[in-house]
């Protein structure tokens, strides 16, 4: 297995008296599609929010691409190549699809007064939208999209800035089966081109087909970690996940 792109060690977060994530450690190998699974309420999304700096951890260390991240902050992480999507697809509803895509391109300050959408950026956005089957809606307001299409758009947009690691929070939740296939195919293609993924997903079929390794969380701590086959046959996982 190749070197870890992202390493999490001893991550802990308590809300009031409840430990949402407790002493959780795992790593995401470079070039992998790593899955983070576990029953509802096991702390997956909280872990995501801690890693991406949307929540401040009580304890724990995060290393990304060889350097340790002391105070994770979404802006600087995104600019270093670690980006994420949200469980409820989040797009900018009043902007067009193309504008949504271009807004995701990280700009230096000196470019602030350049035209909002420049020709090469437009071309790049259209190319990605085409890959995601959204090109014909390019000038539509994002707010007019269906839920599944918003998920696709959000996914496409985070790719604009050529990230190294993408965290997908339930990429297929609430999406119809046709779009699920499409999302799966996109993840495969992009992974083949070298992009690393960490995904939280409830659709176990998809996880088992797509991911290696699989990290299982239960009550905020890591229960098991390994290839799908290993995890699937682990009795503890069965008990936690399927309710034995």
């Amino acid at each position: 297995m190749s070197a870890a792109l992202l390493e999490i060690e001893g991550l802990t977060k308590r809300f009031g008296g409840v430990t949402a994530v407790g002493d959780c450690s795992f790593s995401v190998p470079e070039g992998s599609v790593t899955a983070l699974v576990g029953p509802n309420g096991s702390g997956k999304t909280t872990a995501f929010n801690l890693i991406t700096g949307y929540l401040r951890a009580d304890a724990g260390a995060i290393r990304f691409a060889g350097s340790s991240i002391r105070k994770p902050n979404p802006v600087s992480l995104a600019r270093r190549g670690l980006t994420r999507t949200f469980q409820q697809a989040r797009v900018f509803p009043d902007l067009t699809l193309v504008q949504n895509m271009v807004a995701a391109l990280q700009q230096p300050w000196r470019a602030a007064l350049r035209r909002a959408v420049r020709k090469p950026e437009q071309a790049r956005a259209l190319e990605l939208l085409e890959e995601f089957g959204l090109a014909r809606l390019a000038e539509e307001r994002a707010g007019n999209l269906s839920y599944g299409q918003k998920k696709l758009l959000e996914f496409a947009a985070v790719l604009m800035a050529d990230p190294r690691l993408v965290l997908l929070d339930e990429p297929t939740a609430g999406v119809n089966p046709l779009l699920v296939d499409q999302i799966e195919q996109r993840i495969r293609d992009l992974n083949a081109r070298g992009l690393t993924f960490l995904l939280v997903e409830h659709n176990m079929n998809l996880v088992m087909r797509l991911s290696d390794p699989v990290v299982v969380l239960d009550h905020g701590t890591k229960l098991a970690e390994g290839s799908p086959d290993v995890v699937r046959t682990d009795p503890r996982v069965l008990e936690a996940y399927l309710g034995g």
Partner: protein, 336 residues
């Protein structure tokens, strides 16, 4: 988002030309006086819109910077001397820039809060500046007020230079808004307005973008305050840091349409003459206040989206209806 269309440029050019021609067509001092006030409110509303309309952060502290501009000009007159005639106008951009620079650290603190808290915190800025105007008597002469030298402009066209200065500020504000709306900065600001957390996740430097918009708002408001002080030649704390001025500008923006380019100007064109009419009919600050608050209520309760967005919405939905006859664009599907 606006695009640089020929129609847009023509619209802007026509507005500028009509604006410049106005005082030369209508000489009467009282008409030009209403013109000055209309442009002043339009410029203030445009400045407010530049920050609050584009970022979604409602600020209630704009009058603080209007007042700071007025006092800074007045105090420089008093202590340094900025010349007379047209000279003070040329000093204004520097005065505005200085105030904008000073306001940034304060804005940085205020921007740690959101929504209602932000609105309230900026409102306290207004009261802070008013208190300063009352208390720093050596600089501001406190409640007695500060007298500025009366410029020696020709009597029959005395108002015109001020009119043109206000027009220049409004045009500058509109140009800035137009420039921002078509630029990457505008894209960032709108992204922040729609979903700031998402914007952060995409690596958009939200704090920087908000501070830029804020400084531009302060810069413009301070310059407008400076021209106003020079026009009136007498300023005192209650009039120059007046919550009514600011709430008027906000109301005009709401009436015209938040986040649009022309909305604040349209709102000012409708409301300021109405307001002036009410002042002459009802007398300042008594029944006038009642009438003003009634107009306010009507606007907010009946037209909360504003004139331009409502018009645009009506046009869009008509177009939509026509289009759906031909092809279904987007179908709604299962939500999670």
């Amino acid at each position: 988002m606006s695009r640089a269309t020929t129609a847009g440029l023509v619209r802007g050019g026509a507005f500028a030309a009509a604006g410049i021609a106005f005082p030369f067509v209508f000489h009467a001092a009282w008409i030009v006086n209403i013109g000055v006030l209309t442009l002043m409110y339009a410029a203030l509303a445009t400045a407010w819109n530049l920050f609050s309309g584009y970022t979604g952060y409602i600020t209630l502290g704009q009058a603080a910077f209007f007042g700071l501009g007025a006092y800074t000009l007045g105090i420089t007159f008093e202590h340094v001397g900025v010349g007379s005639g047209y000279n003070p106008f040329y000093a204004l951009p520097l005065v505005g820039a200085g105030i904008a620079l000073v306001s940034v650290p304060v804005a940085w603190i205020a921007l740690r809060t959101r929504h209602m808290t932000f609105a309230i915190v900026t409102l306290t800025l207004l009261f802070i500046v008013q208190q300063l105007a009352f208390n720093l008597r050596s600089l501001t002469k406190g409640s007695t007020g500060l007298m500025l030298p009366t410029p020696r402009f020709p009597i029959d066209s005395y108002d015109t230079p001020f009119y043109l200065a206000m027009l220049a500020l409004l045009l500058a504000g509109l140009a800035l808004c137009w420039l921002i709306l078509r630029s990457k900065l505008g894209l960032m600001l709108l992204a922040i307005r729609e979903d700031e957390e998402k914007a952060r996740g995409l690596g958009i430097r939200v704090t920087g973008a908000k501070l830029i918009a804020w400084s531009l708002m302060v810069w413009l408001s301070a310059m407008v305050g400076g021209v106003w002080a020079y026009y009136l030649t007498f300023i005192y704390p209650e009039s120059s840091v007046d919550p009514l001025v600011m709430i008027g500008a906000v109301l005009m923006t709401f009436l015209g349409g938040r986040g649009t380019l022309w909305g604040p100007t349209i709102g000012a064109l409708v409301l300021v003459p109405t307001q002036q009419y009410m002042i002459t009919k009802l007398g300042a600050s008594q029944l006038y206040l009642v009438g003003y608050s009634a107009v306010f209520m009507v606007v907010l309760l009946l037209l909360p989206r504003g004139i331009l967005p409502s018009l645009r919405g009506a046009i869009d939905s008509r177009r939509e209806r026509r289009r759906t006859h031909r092809e279904p664009v987007v179908r709604e599907e299962a939500h999670a």
